[in-house]
C-alpha cells in the first residue's frame, strides 16, 4: 500500500495554484465588507494578514473535519453484492461419496484436525466417517447455528447422519461464496465487524505497522523522524513513518501522490480522525479498507475478503501463520504475492511472526511452530475455480430485471444462487477434456473447437452449472447464453410431441420415410434428405425419432402442421418466437444452449414449463430478505403426451443415435436425450435429461465453420461423461393413468413379446390399437446391420 505512494512529487505546484484560486474565490464572496476591510488592512498590514490566514486555516480545518466525519459516519464503502452457491444438503440416503464431501469441505476451507472436531470449520475423516462442525450462517430462510455432524458413508451414499448422539433428518453446510458484482473500479470487500477481528490480527498490525498506535494522537513524530533519518541514510525513501491512522486517511481521501502538502493534509486529517473516533473504530476501518490482492480487474480489499480469497475461510478461523501472511502483504500485495513470489512472501511472513514473538503477541515456541508451516493457500486448481464468470453472467441477467446496477454494486446485497460447485467443476473439466480429445482424434489444431454446457435441475428449473467456453475461469464470450446456433435435430421431440398431442399418432404409428419436395414462398424448392442419404420406407415414429430420420420427420411435421410445431416449441419455452417455416422441422432455428435447456426442462418436468432461475433469493446487507424467486410452473402440454414422447427419447439412448452414451453411463440408468447436428456439420448438440438433471452440450467453432462432428460424435461423449461424473437419478416411471406400457416391434409397431430382440417398451394410450405381430425377428437383419452403421 505504501509502496505506490512514494512515486510522484510533481503535483505540488499545481496544488498551490488551485488553493490560491480557492482563496480568491472565497474573498470575492464577501464583497459587502470588502471596502472597510481593505482600508483596515492598509492601516494594519501585519495583523490583518495574520487574522486572514487564521480565518482561512480555520475554514480549511472545518472543511477537512467535515470531510473526515462525513466519510467516517456515513456509509464508508460501496459494497458489491456477494454471490453464493447452493448450500450442500446432507441427509441419510443422499448419493454423496466421502471424497465428494471431503472436496466440498476443502472448497469451503475447512481445516482437518487430528482429534474430535470442536470448532466451526473443522473436520476429521476416518474409515467411512466424516465428523465436522458447520459454521453458523444466515440463510435466506433463517439463521442456522454451528452444529456438530457425524456423517457415516455407505458406499457412495450417506448411510447415517447424526449430531454425535441423535439422528439428524437434514442439515446443510454454509454455501461457498462464488463471486461479487462489483462496479467498474473493481473494489471488492467483505466487511468484518470489530468482534470478528482476531486479536492476533490487531496485535500484528500494531506490531508491524505502527507500534505506538495506542499511544499516539494520529501522527507519531518520533516514528516520522526515525523514518526520515533512515531514509536519509539509505539515500532515498526506504521506510514509511506513517501511522495506521495516516495510512487509513491516505487510502480514504487521497491519491497515491506523496508531496509535502499532501503529507500535511494527511497528518491533519489523521489528527482530526483520532479526535473524533476511538482506536478500536479506526483499527476496524483499517482492517476493512486495506488492499490485499488482485484478480483480473477485481481488487481484493480488507482482511475479511482477503481471508476468503487466499484461504477460503472466514477471518476468525485463520491460523496465526495465515494472519501473519496477510499482514506481511499489506506492504505490497503485488510484491509479496504468495503465489507468484512465494519465497519472498514467506520470508516476510516469517519476519512478521518473529516480530509478533518479540512483542509478546505470540510465544516464541508458537512462532517457531507457525514458521514451520507452509504458505497453505487455498488450492484453486484442485478444487475448481472459485470464480465462475459464466455463471455470474446469468445471475446478473436475472437480477437486472429487478435491481439497478448501482444497488448491486454498492448496497452489500447477498445473492443466493443454485450453482452446484460439484456439477460446475465436472462440467468444466469434462468439456475441456472432451474438446481436447476431439481435436487430438481428428487432427485439429488445439483450441480450434469451442463448446458450452448448461446443467439445470429437472424439476425446479434451477440452473446448476453454466460453462461458457473451454477456459472456464476466464470471462469472455459466453456461448452457453449468447451463442444462438441452429439446433438441428434437437427440434424433433417438438415435432413428435405435436403429433402425439394431436391424438392422431402414437409412437407405434408408422410414417413414410421417403423424399419430399416442398415449394418455398421465394420460388425455390426445399428437398431435405436423410443424414445417411438413404430412405427407409414405412417406419415407426419411435424408430424415426430414435434414428433421427429427417424425411420421416418432415412428412410427420407437415401432416401435423408446421404452425402447430412452432407454437408448441414456444409453449415449451423457446424464446424468441419461432417462425413456422418447413425448415423448422429439421431445426433451422437458432437457440442458445440455455434456451434449449429451458425447452428440454419442460419435457423433463412432465409438460410443466418452469422459467430457468439462477437466483433463489436476495438479502440486503442486514440479512432482510428482499426478493425470493420462487418456483413457478405452468402446465403447457398434457403430461400423458410428454410421457409418451419420453419413451421415444429413452429409445434414442437405447437403440438410436444416443446409444454411444452407454459407454459411460450405468446400463440400468434410464435417461432421455436427443442428438442435434446442423447443416454441414457446423454445430454438434446433445440435449437430454434424467430424473434429476437436464443437460445441454454444444460443440462447434466460433467462426461457425464446419467441424466434421455430429451430435453423437461431438457432444454426446461430453454429455455422458458429465452425467456419469455428477451422478444422477434415473427417470421416474410414467404415471399418467390414461397410459399403459406395451411392448411393440421397433420396426413395424406391431405388439410383440418383450423377449423379442426388436421389442421396445412404449407408453401408449390405453385405447391404442396395435396390430398383433407376435413373430419375433421379422425382417430385422437389415435393420440391425443398418443401425450399427448409424453414426448420426
Amino acid at each position: 500500500m505504501r509502496k505506490g505512494n512514494r512515486k510522484s512529487r510533481a503535483a505540488s505546484g499545481k496544488r498551490k495554484n488551485k488553493s490560491k484560486r480557492k482563496a480568491r474565490r472565497s474573498k470575492r464572496k464577501h464583497v459587502g465588507g470588502w471596502r472597510r476591510a481593505a482600508s483596515f488592512a492598509r492601516r494594519h498590514p501585519f495583523p490583518s494578514a495574520l487574522a486572514f490566514l487564521a480565518l482561512a486555516l480555520a475554514a480549511w480545518l472545518a472543511v477537512l473535519d467535515w470531510q473526515v466525519t462525513s466519510r467516517f459516519d456515513g456509509r464508508r464503502w460501496d459494497l458489491p453484492a456477494h454471490v453464493y452457491a447452493r448450500p450442500l444438503e446432507l441427509f441419510a440416503g443422499r448419493a454423496l461419496s466421502a471424497d465428494a464431501l471431503d472436496t466440498e469441505l476443502a472448497r469451503l476451507g475447512y481445516r482437518a484436525v487430528a482429534g474430535h472436531p470442536r470448532r466451526p470449520g473443522t473436520f476429521r475423516r476416518y474409515r467411512n466417517v466424516i465428523e465436522l462442525v458447520t459454521r453458523p450462517f444466515a440463510f435466506w430462510d433463517g439463521a442456522e447455528p454451528a452444529r456438530p455432524l457425524v456423517v457415516t458413508f455407505d458406499g457412495a451414499r450417506i448411510g447415517r447422519l447424526t449430531d454425535g448422539t441423535q439422528d439428524v433428518a437434514i442439515a446443510r453446510l454454509e454455501p461457498l461464496m462464488i463471486g461479487s458484482l462489483f462496479a467498474e473500479h473493481g473494489e471488492d470487500r467483505l466487511i468484518v465487524a470489530p468482534q470478528d477481528v482476531p486479536p492476533l490480527l490487531s496485535a500484528a498490525l500494531v506490531a508491524v505497522e505502527d507500534r505506538r498506535f495506542y499511544h499516539h494522537f494520529g501522527i507519531d513524530p518520533l516514528a516520522t523522524l526515525r523514518a526520515l533519518v533512515a531514509n536519509l541514510k539509505a539515500g532515498g525513501i526506504a521506510q514509511g513513518g506513517s501511522t495506521l491512522t495516516q495510512q487509513l486517511v491516505k487510502n480514504y481521501f487521497l491519491d497515491n501522490r506523496q508531496t509535502l502538502w499532501r503529507k500535511l493534509k494527511e497528518a491533519l486529517m489523521a489528527v482530526i480522525l483520532e479526535a473524533h473516533y476511538d482506536k478500536q473504530e479506526i483499527l476496524n476501518a483499517y482492517v476493512n479498507e486495506v488492499y490485499l490482492g488482485q484478480q483480473g480487474n477485481r481488487a481484493i480489499h480488507g482482511f475479511g475478503l482477503a481471508a476468503q480469497f487466499w484461504f477460503s475461510r472466514p477471518l476468525a478461523e485463520l491460523e496465526p501463520h495465515q494472519i501473519a501472511l496477510l499482514v506481511a502483504m499489506v506492504r505490497g500485495p503485488g510484491y509479496y504475492d504468495p503465489v507468484r513470489f512465494s519465497e519472498r512472501a514467506r520470508a516476510r511472513r516469517d519476519r512478521v511472526l518473529a516480530q509478533l514473538a518479540e512483542q509478546g503477541a505470540l510465544s516464541a515456541e508458537a512462532a517457531r511452530a507457525e514458521t514451520a508451516e507452509p504458505l497453505d493457500l487455498w488450492d484453486a486448481e484442485r478444487y475448481g475455480m472459485a470464480w465462475y464468470p459464466a455463471y455470474l453472467d446469468i445471475v446478473r441477467r436475472q437480477l437486472a430485471a429487478d435491481y439497478r446496477d448501482r444497488d448491486l454494486t454498492r448496497e452489500g446485497l447477498r445473492v443466493f444462487t443454485a450453482l452446484d460447485p460439484m456439477v460446475q467443476a465436472a462440467a468444466e473439466r469434462e468439456l475441456a477434456a472432451g474438446l481436447e480429445r476431439l481435436e487430438t482424434a481428428r487432427g485439429l489444431a488445439g483450441g480450434e473447437l469451442a463448446g458450452a454446457v448448461v446443467v439445470t435441475a429437472a424439476v425446479s428449473g434451477e440452473v446448476l452449472a453454466v460453462v461458457g467456453g473451454r477456459r472456464a475461469g476466464f470471462a469472455g464470450f459466453n456461448r452457453a447464453l449468447d451463442a444462438r446456433r441452429p439446433i438441428g435435430s434437437l427440434v424433433k421431440p417438438a415435432v413428435y410431441l405435436a403429433a402425439l398431442e394431436s391424438g392422431r399418432y402414437t409412437l407405434a404409428s408408422t410414417v413414410d420415410d421417403r423424399p419430399v419436395e416442398l415449394p418455398l414462398p421465394n420460388g425455390n424448392t426445399w428437398t431435405p434428405a436423410n443424414f445417411e442419404k438413404r430412405t427407409n420406407g414405412s417406419v415407426t415414429l419411435v424408430r424415426a425419432l430414435a434414428e433421427s430420420l429427417n424425411l420421416a420427420t418432415v412428412n410427420l411435421g407437415l401432416d401435423v402442421g408446421v404452425e402447430r410445431v412452432a407454437a408448441l416449441l414456444e409453449r415449451l419455452g423457446a424464446d424468441p418466437p419461432v417462425r413456422p417455416l418447413p425448415s423448422l422441422l429439421l431445426g433451422a432455428v437458432g437457440l442458445a444452449p440455455v434456451d434449449v435447456a429451458e425447452v428440454y426442462g419442460t419435457l423433463a418436468n412432465g409438460g410443466f414449463h418452469t422459467p430457468l432461475r439462477a437466483v433463489r433469493s436476495v438479502l440486503d446487507a442486514q440479512g432482510t430478505p428482499l426478493d425470493r424467486y420462487g418456483l413457478e410452473v405452468a402446465q403447457v402440454v398434457d403430461p400423458a403426451a410428454v410421457q409418451q414422447l419420453e419413451a421415444g427419447l429413452v429409445a434414442v439412448m437405447r437403440r438410436g443415435t444416443g446409444r454411444g452414451a452407454a459407454a459411460w453411463l450405468p446400463g440400468d440408468l434410464a435417461v432421455a436425450g436427443k442428438t442435434g447436428t446442423s447443416d454441414e456439420l457446423r454445430d454438434a448438440w446433445f440435449a437430454g435429461y434424467s430424473g434429476e438433471h437436464v443437460m445441454v452440450v454444444w460443440v462447434g467453432r466460433d467462426d461457425n465453420a464446419p467441424t466434421g462432428l455430429t451430435g453423437a460424435s461431438g457432444a454426446l461423449p461430453i454429455w455422458a461423461r458429465i452425467l456419469a461424473a455428477i451422478g444422477t437419478r434415473p427417470l421416474a416411471p410414467a404415471t399418467a393413468p390414461e397410459l399403459a406400457a406395451r411392448w411393440v416391434d421397433y420396426a413395424t409397431g406391431a405388439e410383440v413379446s418383450e423377449r423379442c430382440e426388436a421389442a421396445v417398451r412404449l407408453m401408449l394410450p390405453r385405447d391404442a390399437r396395435l396390430t398383433r405381430g407376435g413373430r419375433c425377428g421379422l425382417d430385422l437383419g437389415g435393420t440391425l446391420e443398418w443401425l450399427r452403421d448409424t453414426v448420426h
Binding site: 433428518a169 434451477e462 410452473v633 404415471t735
Partner: protein, 146 residues
C-alpha cells in the same frame, strides 16, 4: 413406491392428515381455516394418507406445513422448495406448496402446483383427491377474482 422409503413419521402423518382430510379431524390452530386457507372439501378415504417421502423430505414438509399454519408463507414456500429439491417426484411436496400459494392468494400458481401434484399422485388416492380439491378451490377463486 412408498414401501421403499422409511416409514412415515408420526408428525408428518398428522400434518398431512390435517391438511388433506379436514372431515373428522379436530380443528387446527387459529388461522388454519381462514378464508384463503380453507381446505374443507377434500376427504381422505383411508385413515392415513399415502406419502412418498423419505425422512429428510418428511422433516422439511412438516416444518413447511407448520410455517404455513403460522402464517409465514414466504418461509413455508422456501422450506417446501428445499424439500422439492430433495424429493422432486413427491406429490405430497407439490401439494403442500400448492396449499401455501392458495393461502397466499396466488390462485394461478396454486392451481398449477396442484395439477403437478395430481400428475404425480397416480396410485395414491388421498393425495390425488387432495390435489384435486386444491385445484378445484384455486379454479373457483380464480373465477371469482375480477
Amino acid at each position: 413406491m412408498a414401501a421403499r422409503h422409511r416409514p412415515l413419521t408420526p408428525a408428518l402423518a398428522l400434518t398431512l392428515l390435517l391438511g388433506a382430510c379436514a372431515t373428522g379431524v379436530p380443528p387446527g390452530p387459529a388461522g388454519e381455516r381462514d378464508e384463503a386457507g380453507r381446505l374443507g372439501e377434500s376427504g381422505s378415504p383411508a385413515g392415513r394418507p399415502e406419502a412418498d417421502l423419505g425422512a429428510a423430505g418428511s422433516a422439511l414438509v412438516t416444518r413447511g406445513v407448520n410455517e404455513r399454519r403460522a402464517g409465514d408463507y414466504a418461509q413455508a414456500a422456501a422450506t417446501l422448495e428445499r424439500a422439492l429439491r430433495i424429493e422432486p417426484g413427491s406429490a405430497a411436496v407439490w401439494l403442500e406448496l400448492a396449499r401455501v400459494r392458495l393461502a397466499q392468494g396466488d390462485y394461478v400458481q396454486a392451481g398449477q402446483l396442484a395439477r403437478k401434484a395430481g400428475s404425480l399422485a397416480t396410485g395414491q388416492p388421498a393425495l390425488a383427491a387432495a390435489s384435486q380439491a386444491v385445484l378445484a378451490e384455486a379454479l373457483e377463486r380464480q373465477g371469482q377474482s375480477p
